[in-house]
């Protein structure tokens, strides 16, 4: 095989906080999940499957957070999604009737109907509601590399005041992945790319082989990385750290110059959920009669002001094709440039939020499809996953990454500021109590074990990085406060009941049924690290590059 001039690693990070509300008929927050399924995950799966069917060579890394995996596997949410999707399909048919004969709108209504029918086919017929199997199939075909993340996407540097809290997040995430995919995850997506060297011992001990950092995580590593972010470095814990390439990030994300803002692309903010009469649309809203997005959007971005013209799918696809060609061209120039400086082919690491593709950037999945097809068969820039790159055996420079995250301003401020800093005293206190419980009750059985497991679940749920993030963003802030206070209070009550040997069994069973993720969770993962023996290292997969 010819050595390419350079490599590119696409990494899609898919995550949602655990949102499941059987106590309500419909919840706005469950809709985050349903929308992500319909608009992102299913369209991306469709692209990946069609590429595979057409024998296109591609290699993409997909991190699926354990909370998202849990939601994908939850029968209750599967049932609710079934109803949600059926409602949208019904709306699609109504829309076809409403727009019949209109040359501008009718093709768009037909497009939405076809997309929803495909979603129903994939969800019901092909995978019998278990979309996790779609990901697994693609992984087994060698097209996707799926990696795990921390259990509930806890922001590890701020939890690591108690090392056990960060450790438990990692172990629960690794363990759940193994249960779902039947093998160990070689890499891990550190939530929000948040890294601190205090995590090194744990990451190494758990048998992980790599993680991704923000650009300056690797760029500001010490000693200075010889190749900047264009080769991974070997961290003190023995993992490879892959730093994000700033150019590919800019091309997709930049508000001014980024692809998704092109005037021919679909406008996100014009949705029939807002535009049509409530008499017509109300019953299809979620929750019913509450104005919100339906996903039926008929306009294109058009320009910077409020004037919007009708979306033209063919023109938008043509633009996506041009953008894919532009992206490919820029990567060739980029690896040519760095190749002239480096004595090995540069690796461009391009991580993205999966939810950008399809939901915000409607044409994103098609852009990726065009790009993979254009890159197929050319030897210049090769798509590669981090594991595949490590298997090539390049020697890696030993260096310690810099504390960093991919959030605004590059460090921890998004998750630690005046809007959310009050949270940490509660999270740290609860973690300390959980460590004490797990250490004091190493052999619990029966109700006591159930209560300890549930206490661990409640703590993990309270630790999601989503809650402080939402508080900072200021949208749905109340929901984040409700969730975090609820999980912490459930934890505190359980902790007291366990200590007093007085567990309220009906209540325990009720909250265990509501907050039901990680059925096999072992609460002992919270045991004091000073009193436990390190977990067995994963049997070596392919080793990672040596130190020279």
């Amino acid at each position: 095989m010819l050595t390419p001039k350079g490599y590119i690693s696409f990494i899609f990070h898919a995550h949602l906080p655990y949102v499941r509300h059987p106590e309500y008929q419909q919840s706005l927050e469950e809709k985050w999940f349903f929308e992500a399924l319909t608009e992102c995950y299913i369209p991306l799966l469709r692209v990946f499957q069609e590429l595979a069917e057409d024998n296109i060579n591609y290699a993409v890394t997909f991190s699926l957070s354990p909370t998202l995996l849990s939601m994908l596997e939850d029968p209750f949410l599967q049932e609710r999604y079934t109803a949600y999707l059926a409602g949208l399909q019904q709306l699609a048919r109504k829309e076809e009737e409403r727009t019949a004969g209109d040359v501008r709108f009718a093709p768009l209504a037909a497009m939405y109907r076809e997309r929803l029918d495909y979603a129903a086919y994939l969800f019901h017929e092909k995978y019998a509601r278990r979309l996790v199997n779609a990901f697994r199939d693609l992984q087994e075909k060698g097209k996707l590399e799926i990696i795990t993340s921390a259990a509930t996407h806890g922001y590890l540097p701020l939890l690591a005041v108690q090392k056990e809290a960060a450790y438990a997040q990692l172990v629960a995430g690794i363990d759940y992945y193994r249960r779902i995919f039947g093998k160990a995850s070689r890499g891990i997506w550190l939530p929000e790319c948040a890294y601190d060297p205090v995590l090194e011992d744990m990451l190494g001990e758990l048998g992980l082989q790599y993680f991704i950092t923000a650009t300056h995580g690797v760029l500001y590593a010490s000693p200075r990385p010889k190749y900047g972010v264009y080769s991974p470095i070997l961290t003190p814990g023995g993992l490879a750290a892959f730093g994000r390439d700033p150019e590919t990030s800019h091309q997709v994300w930049s508000a001014r110059e980024g692809y998704p803002g092109d005037y021919l692309y679909r406008e996100f903010y014009r949705d029939i959920g807002y535009d049509l009469e409530l008499d017509y649309i109300g019953e299809h809203l979620h929750p019913a009669y509450l104005r919100g997005n339906t996903g039926f959007k008929y306009y294109r971005i058009t320009g910077p002001d409020n004037h919007k013209e009708v979306y033209d799918r063919q023109q938008a696809l043509q633009k996506a094709r041009e953008h894919a060609a532009n992206f490919k061209f820029n990567r060739e120039k980029q690896v040519e440039y760095y190749g002239g400086v480096m004595d090995r082919p540069p690796l461009v690491v391009a991580p993205y939020d999966a939810e950008l593709f399809g939901h915000w950037w409607f044409e994103g999945p098609q852009w990726l499809d065009f790009l993979c097809r254009m890159m197929h068969g050319q030897q210049y820039v090769e798509m590669i996953t981090p594991s595949q790159y490590l298997d090539r055996g390049y020697a890696l420079q030993l260096s310690t990454p810099n504390i960093s995250s991919w959030g605004d301003k590059g460090y921890h401020e998004v998750w630690l500021n005046a809007k959310n800093d009050w949270l940490y005293r509660h999270l740290h206190h609860a973690a300390e109590r959980m460590v004490a419980l797990a250490t004091a009750y190493p052999q619990a059985e029966g109700v006591q074990e159930e209560a300890l497991k549930q206490a661990a679940r409640e703590l993990l749920l309270a630790q999601s990085s989503d809650w402080p993030f939402i508080m900072t963003a200021g949208t749905m802030e109340r929901y984040a406060q409700v969730r975090v206070s609820k999980h912490l209070n459930r934890f505190l009550a359980l902790e007291r009941q366990i200590r007093e040997n007085n567990v309220d069994i009906p209540w325990l069973r009720a909250i265990a049924a509501a907050d039901n993720l990680f059925p096999n969770l072992d609460y002992r993962i919270f045991q004091s690290l000073e009193s436990t023996v390190p977990v067995e290292k994963e049997e070596a997969g392919a080793g990672i590059g040596g130190i020279s």
Binding site: H21, E23, Y24, Q26, S27, L28, E29, P157, L158, V161, D196, P197, A214, T215, H216, L219, Y220, S222, P223, R224, K226, Y227, G228, P246, S249, H250, P287, A288, Y289, L290, Y337, Y338, G340, V341, M342, Q397, L398, S399, N402, I403, K409, G410, Y411, H412, E413, L416, D421, W422, Y424, R425, H426, H429, R478, Y479, V482, S485, K486, L488, N489, L492
Partner: protein
């Protein structure tokens, strides 16, 4: 019409104001700022009140921020006066790539700073490319310049942070720390 069910999700439950434990925790926010929170139990307050011969409200409470170049090498400290109702503080430390530890206490006449609680140690991130170079992993200078110049063009700007955090922090003599 907004369904009652959805509105039900807006109840924020109260969390304990105190846990009855002495605690001072320090967190890193970015290369220039830290965040500290604390809880002081009544018994511990009393110790300081006895030491200072005055009530909590009338003590000159302060945080002493100690800076270290390595985990052991003390570079000095500075004090931040705090009011008696505060239970958290954003601390501008101004220097990246350093270790910090904070003590909560009071300035007491003739005794100086009397510490009551001590925090964990944290480190601020580096805000520039490392000066440490491994000779086995060194590009010729002209190549390194080409490599880093292009990366910097596309990277996040650390300039804004440098400007915001750029105020000089006056450290006191080490023997006072």
């Amino acid at each position: 019409m907004r369904s009652g069910a959805v509105e039900g999700l807006t109840t924020v439950e109260k969390l304990p104001s105190f846990y009855g434990e002495d605690r001072l925790v320090l967190l890193t926010r970015d290369p220039y700022w830290l965040f500290a929170y604390w809880e002081v139990t009544p018994a511990t307050r009393q110790q300081l009140e006895m030491e200072g011969q005055r009530s909590w409200e009338h003590l000159n409470l302060a945080l002493r921020v100690k800076r270290y170049a390595t985990a052991m090498e003390n570079e000095g400290c500075f004090h931040i006066p705090i009011n008696h109702t505060a239970d958290n503080w954003c601390i501008e430390v101004g220097v990246p790539d350093r270790y910090y530890r904070v003590e909560l206490g009071a300035q007491i006449p003739e005794k100086g700073f009397v510490a009551l609680l001590c925090s964990n140690t944290v480190k601020t991130p580096r805000d520039e490319i490392s000066n440490v170079i491994d000779e086995n992993w060194r590009l010729p200078d002209w190549q390194a310049r080409r490599l880093y110049r292009r990366i910097a063009r596309g990277s996040i700007s650390s300039l804004e942070m440098a400007i915001r955090g750029g105020g000089s922090i006056h450290l006191e003599r080490r023997d006072e720390c």
